[in-house]
Amino acid sequence: MSSVLFDIPGPRARMRYRTLAIVGALAIAALVGYVVYRFADTGQFTARKWEFIQYEQIQIGLVTALGRTLSAFGLGAVLAMIFGAIFAAARLSDHAWIRTPAAVIVEGFRAIPLVIMMFFFYYGLPSAGIKMSAFTAVVLGLTLYNGSVLAEVFRAGINSLPRGQSEAAYALGMRKTQVMVLVLLPQALRAMLPTIVSQLVVLLKDTALGFLITYEELLNWGRQLGSQLQFGRPYVPTMLTVAAIYIGMCLLLTWFANYLEKRNRRNKKVIKLDNNKAEGIVLGESMGAGVPPGAGTL
């Protein structure tokens, strides 16, 4: 609990908290009870609404759809990291003619909504004679957007390393490339790893945007099955299933990010970065499950 706002409770405060707890618990129970009642009353828990899951065809469909989501995620993640690494290096370049275009590209792709990018690739480019599948459009959009965010994360990571690191490396006579590759990058990567994994959670969530350009992924599976009259239009059950799968996968990744961060905190080799700038980027710009800025300071 936050001890900033509240003192350690005395007898009267404890009594008040207990009363509040009971009232709150009742109110919440009433709310949840009402929602469950609405679910039950409209027959969402009847066997008929859930029997779709027994058909082998549908099970195979679910696994295929999940596979499509994961393959878009996997390819998008790898490409986004490559894109991010290249553009972070370009933005840290000493030459203005590399730095400036890279900055424009990264800032631009962060400002354009991902949906518009996907529309552009899937609906826009065919009128210029370039046709691509929904999968390619989704992966391309994910790469450009998340790659740009990752480029900022990498750059912030390298910039927030203590100055002494690069100064010492230069004093030893290393070139810029050597300083980057041998000294700065390994330390920055290690410190940034939790943030990068948090950004991957965002990427995984963003694969669901493929739904809007008819990419047949998990959400699309739920939507199509939900409209089937022969199973009694099980929209609510399929959406619950899809939500459970998404939340499960994202929680696994979030948990992994938290684990990495805990390990980093224990590890003496990891240099504590000067600020939480990169984490702020992930939290704000992409609404990710990133570590909130300042969360590490207390």
Partner: protein
């Protein structure tokens, strides 16, 4: 250029709807997010548990799924009927408030405990402490990430285009019906978003620079 000038009405009404969606759901999610943050820092464990559960679940759900749920599945629960615009506002508010909550909470947590302890020792009431000591300091670390969250909300409004809300993302459908060049139209939409987002990004950078206090 002709794609923009010939369909100026379409673009203006599209971005108008986007801004309306952004403003309404922005205000609502600021309110809901602050309430959630209050739950998350409350001394009552039940409230904290509710806040944490909400934030964990919503932050790990794709926004598109929230939209699909409210547009397709929610009507089957027969509670209150929403039109498409209201559904979009509800979905965006529920989603964004989880992020606002985290920003507010971590902002409150950046205030050193000694500040509140000192003010309690001076005999300030809870309200005085909150308004004179804690919130002014928390504001500094809250506002820059809050602006980023609102930028993300502005960009996220485009998801509503897939759910029959006639906003900027929907301009494409209208253009392709009229047989206009969709490619150029989408480039103009992208340009429109850059124009909307860039001032906010600049504002955020300025606030961040001005308010980043060394503690």
């Amino acid at each position: 250029m002709s794609v923009l000038t010939n369909n100026l009405d379409l673009f203006l009404s599209g971005f108008g709807t986007t801004l309306r969606l952004f403003l309404i759901s922005g205000v609502l999610s600021l309110v809901l997010g602050t309430i959630l943050a209050m739950l998350r820092v409350s001394p009552v464990p039940v409230f904290r548990a509710v806040g944490t559960t909400y934030v964990t679940v919503v932050r790990n759900t794709p926004l598109t799924l929230v939209f699909v749920f409210f547009v397709f599945a929610y009507p089957y629960l027969e509670i209150i009927k929403f039109d498409f615009f209201t559904s979009a506002v509800v979905a965006l508010t529920l989603y964004t408030s989880a992020f606002i909550c985290e920003v507010v909470r971590s902002g409150i947590n950046t205030v050193p405990i000694g500040q509140a302890e000192a003010s309690r020792a001076l005999g300030l009431t809870f309200g005085q402490m909150l308004s004179n000591i804690v919130l002014p300091q928390a504001m500094r670390s809250v506002v820059p990430p809050m602006v980023s969250t609102l930028i993300a909300l502005l960009k996220n409004t485009t998801v509503a285009a897939g759910f029959s809300v006639a906003e900027a993302g929907r301009i494409r459908d209208a253009l392709s019906e009229q047989g206009e060049n969709v490619l150029v139209g989408l480039l103009w939409v992208a340009a429109g978003f850059i124009i909307l987002v860039m001032p906010l990004t600049l504002l955020q950078r300025i606030l961040e620079k001005r308010w980043s206090v060394a503690r």
